[in-house]
Symmetry: C2
Subunit: 322 residues, 2 copies
Amino acid sequence: MVSIRDISKHTGLSIGTISRYINKSGYVSEKSGEKIEAAIKALDYVPNEHARALFSKETKLIGVIVSSLSNPFFAELTMYLEQNAKEYGYGIILFTSDDDEEKESEALRSLKAYRVSGIITTRTQLRKELEELNIPIITFEDNSCSNVISVSADNYLGGQLAFRHLYEKGCKKILHIKGPSQFYATEMRYEGFIHEAEKYGVNVDVHEFLTDYKLDYDLKQMIKDIDLSSYDGIFAFNDIAATLVLSYMQHIGIRVPEDVKLIGFDNSYISGLVNPKLTTIEQSAKDIGFKCIELLMNNIKGEDVSQKEHLVPITLIEREST
Amino acid sequence: MVSIRDISKHTGLSIGTISRYINKSGYVSEKSGEKIEAAIKALDYVPNEHARALFSKETKLIGVIVSSLSNPFFAELTMYLEQNAKEYGYGIILFTSDDDEEKESEALRSLKAYRVSGIITTRTQLRKELEELNIPIITFEDNSCSNVISVSADNYLGGQLAFRHLYEKGCKKILHIKGPSQFYATEMRYEGFIHEAEKYGVNVDVHEFLTDYKLDYDLKQMIKDIDLSSYDGIFAFNDIAATLVLSYMQHIGIRVPEDVKLIGFDNSYISGLVNPKLTTIEQSAKDIGFKCIELLMNNIKGEDVSQKEHLVPITLIEREST
């Protein structure tokens, strides 16, 4: 690996001069600057980011802690976080937490050791630790840290839109399959949905899934006590849950949308892959990824971040399942 | 952030002593060691990995360049790479390449700057650059770099198994939807499939998808010239392609498996979500993630890595679509 020493040998200039030039930390004559530039090109020198980090106190790395990449929404979000960070010249160190407090805590500890310039977490379990961490942080899907900037989709409105859509399609016997109650985002969807139903004077049954989708998910166990055929409209808390329910209903002979209308949440790519294609509430992983990185970069640069809570708009995407 | 300076103030010991202790780089008395340990605990000091990296020439970071996280197989693989790296005390810096040479080249350049201890790439376009890079590398789904260690599923055998399965199910008019020809893995699946068909004296039609799945994928454009109803057996190069074709066939009234039997590849989670559930060839993201990290760690530690090509076993998973 080419080092600053090799540049020094090649140009005949001192290491101090070259370091000043590369780190823009003091005066270097124009002539020397040109020599150094030429040597950097000739030797294909890449600055050592660790040396730069020690010197400038600022790494070009941010930490991302994501619940799981087996959920396609979080996988897409991670991709957009990486792509947007790159635009600002930052790399991401990725940790998955599996929504486990211990794993999230370990990840935070590692990210501190790597001296990342900032952190983005999803569905954090560690509100207190985050508040005490003295670096820029953005939480996705949790607005309960008082001094931390949060981004989330407008989940409450999403729940309202989902109800109104089923109602307008004529559904009378409605079921909401809600997410695990520890998750802020799915709790908001649930609240928006049932409050809207109350407004319209419609009674809604609610069935809670106790865990989010995992690769070894046992759906039959999750819905064994529900008689799905007694409903004509179902709102599931995300597209995976909706797809599982869709597949199960087809399996036992319930037709979608003829017998039951079904709506999901996320607009992750699976909603367009299944038959019938899912009606869903879109939260744009692309917009959210952009917003998280933009806010984090502003925070790192020390710009005004007085607004703590940021809601990203959502949209109803009508397809074939309703 | 607590620094080595604070430890020095707290203990009254010199920075040199503390640095020797933390980096295990020279003699420190037992008594001083105990004082330092106590201060580390009291102040919640986390060693700066950048300082450690400069000193030891070894970062606790590896680079991962993955094609795309919108492909669920690669998302799962990334998750397992992260989880396995963590077991060895390593974090991952993640880049997505979108199978774009320019983006992969930028990612390699950034990873060099971060002085990662090793790199794992998927579906590389930069064989020459990788061969010249003087750090441990594992390529996934490309064995054409002569001096680089490669891991891949046994794709050729997978193609053979797929053919034999359709054949045993009585299929006579068989179509293979193959992946873009620049991808080593899908090319192997194709070769295994058609060579096996030749052995059995069966003629197979082949239709090539020109790109891998993207979020804005236009399936109708991809298959507009094929009369799917003229076949009774289809092998698609991955589960997403299979799911797209399944959904499209159901849409135009072709029944699976009654009219056409369909088999995918990957056993990513969508194969279990759709109705009918997909028969597929499993390549285990878990096993592959484990193997990649194990080989990379052996390589970083300087252990014997004379075997360059590593094939991970694959399995036929029979479900409802055949």
